[in-house]
């Protein structure tokens, strides 16, 4: 049992690395994608729209396999498995985040942007100091959903052979002819997501100082 837990903690470490690296890359990338989607340049916004449609319209597991194997067939070499996971997850999640950002950005009343313009703020200052702080507050509930889904989606990384938590648990289950490790893994995921939920609750509470 002690060995099992040790293995699962190692698996959890991989899971958490996937989770945090994906967030670090996809959160800013999503904002860039959202800006592209809202661009007045029709070609750019349509191209970004197609990207979002592909990312949201096909299974993540398929995208993962594609990112890992496609370079092999085209260039004769693949990125290492872990890197492929981070790339696939980041571009997939960026598409979802982009649409959440877009909803948030478009919900900021036009009048505030006009007030900012009349006061002489630059577009950049308006975006970073007027729009985004309010967007963050408004998108928190939707972001919470996506981040929780990401915790669970890390389990797909095993498809291309990354030994994250769920793979470790499955291996242990096969070795010991018991489903117990799978359920222990379930508890691990639950605890991770409890932390995520609580974090979002804390942030939302901190942003409660205005309406």
């Amino acid at each position: 049992m002690k060995d099992l837990l040790l293995l699962m903690v190692q698996g959890t470490y991989t899971t958490l690395r996937i989770f945090f690296l994906t967030l670090i890359f996809s959160l800013p990338l999503g904002l860039v994608v959202a800006k592209g989607r809202m661009s007045k340049n029709k070609i750019l916004s349509e191209a970004v729209n197609i990207y979002i449609m592909i990312m949201r319209g096909t299974p993540l597991i398929l995208q993962l396999i594609f990112v890992y194997f496609a370079p092999y067939y085209i260039f004769g070499a693949s990125a290492d498995r872990f890197t492929a996971v981070i790339i696939a997850y980041s571009i997939n999640y960026a598409a979802y985040y982009a649409e959440i950002y877009r909803g948030g950005i478009q919900s900021i009343p036009e009048g505030q942007l006009e007030a900012a313009k009349v006061l002489g703020f630059t577009k950049w200052h308006t975006f970073t100091h007027i729009t985004m702080p309010q967007v963050v507050k408004r998108i928190m509930p939707a972001m919470g959903n996506e981040v929780i889904t990401l915790v669970k989606d890390t389990a797909l990384a095993q498809t291309i052979g990354v030994a994250e938590l769920f793979r470790v648990a499955q291996n242990a289950a096969a070795r010991e002819f018991s489903t117990l490790p799978i359920f222990v893994a379930g508890v691990f995921y639950f605890v991770m997501n409890a932390v995520v939920s609580k974090s979002f609750e804390v942030i939302e509470h901190k942003l409660d100082y205005y309406r």
């Binding site: 900012a116 009349v118 002489g120 205005y210």
Partner: protein, 253 residues
């Protein structure tokens, strides 16, 4: 001296022509009210002067600087970005819906432009905010957030925010239309006080008694044209114009 000179401006939204050749000037220390039915183009005119809308043709000169002029092929040519920014700071605008920044305290709503646009130090900006809020009778609300204030208080903060940049002219776009009759009075009193201090102002309003009371000059607009222009007495009392009479009658009923 004319602070604003508007020459024959035209503005269309797709096929609808909203301003059909508007000309007027606004002199220093003058209070100009613009009245007229909804859809007459009053607010659009104000938005063109504050550069929130771009005109199709005509000219706007503010403080002697040309914001926009028209070339020989009848196209509006705007000044460069830098000039527009300089001109923009001379013209303040108070909105119907206040448009305060809800995530900023009252203080920061006022100081943000002072610090980031005029590059004042935080303490200088804060001093000015306090001074302006005292003038508005809101010094105790400096740390409050907009949602904690009444509509009238929010509008007073937005007037303070506009005044902070020390504009040469302050424009009001129906400043009391979103307020209860009770709160309307407190805003009108503030504008009246500014008028007594010889602040140059342009007020788009539906408050006829107020327009009559504070203005040096009144413009009556209808369907994108200036129908009548003159002293309050000219427009409200002595008018012989049929359209002006018809409009004013509706208010007197």
């Amino acid at each position: 001296m004319a602070i604003i000179e508007v020459g024959n401006i035209r503005k269309s939204f797709s096929s609808l022509e909203v301003l059909k050749g508007i000309s007027f000037s606004l002199n220093e220390g003058e209070v100009l009210s613009i009245i007229g039915p909804s859809g007459s183009g009053k607010s659009t005119l104000l938005r063109c002067i504050t550069n929130l809308e771009q005109i199709d043709s005509g000219s706007i000169i503010i403080g002697g600087k040309t914001m926009v002029s028209t070339n020989s092929s009848n196209q509006a040519i705007y000044a460069d970005k830098h000039t527009l920014a300089t001109i923009g700071l001379k013209v303040g605008l108070v909105f119907q819906n206040f448009n305060l920044f809800p995530h900023f305290s009252v203080e920061r709503n006022i100081t943000e432009a002072l610090v980031h646009v005029l590059r004042l130090s935080k303490s200088e900006a804060q001093e000015q905010a306090i001074e302006l809020l005292q003038k508005m009778g809101l010094e105790d609300k400096i740390k409050a957030y907009p949602y904690q204030l009444s509509g009238g208080q929010q509008q007073r903060v937005s007037i303070a925010r506009a005044l902070a940049l020390r504009p040469d002219v302050l424009c009001f776009d129906e400043p009391t239309s979103a307020l209860d009759p009770e709160l309307t009075g407190e805003i009108l009193a503030v504008i009246k006080e500014l008028a007594q201090e010889k602040m140059t102002m342009m007020v788009v309003t539906h408050e006829m008694a107020f327009a009559r009371d504070i203005s040096n000059r009144v413009i009556f607009m209808d369907q994108g044209v200036i129908v009548e222009e003159g002293t309050p007495e000219d427009v409200f009392v002595k008018t012989t114009n049929r359209r002006t009479k018809k409009f004013l009658n509706r208010f007197n009923q």
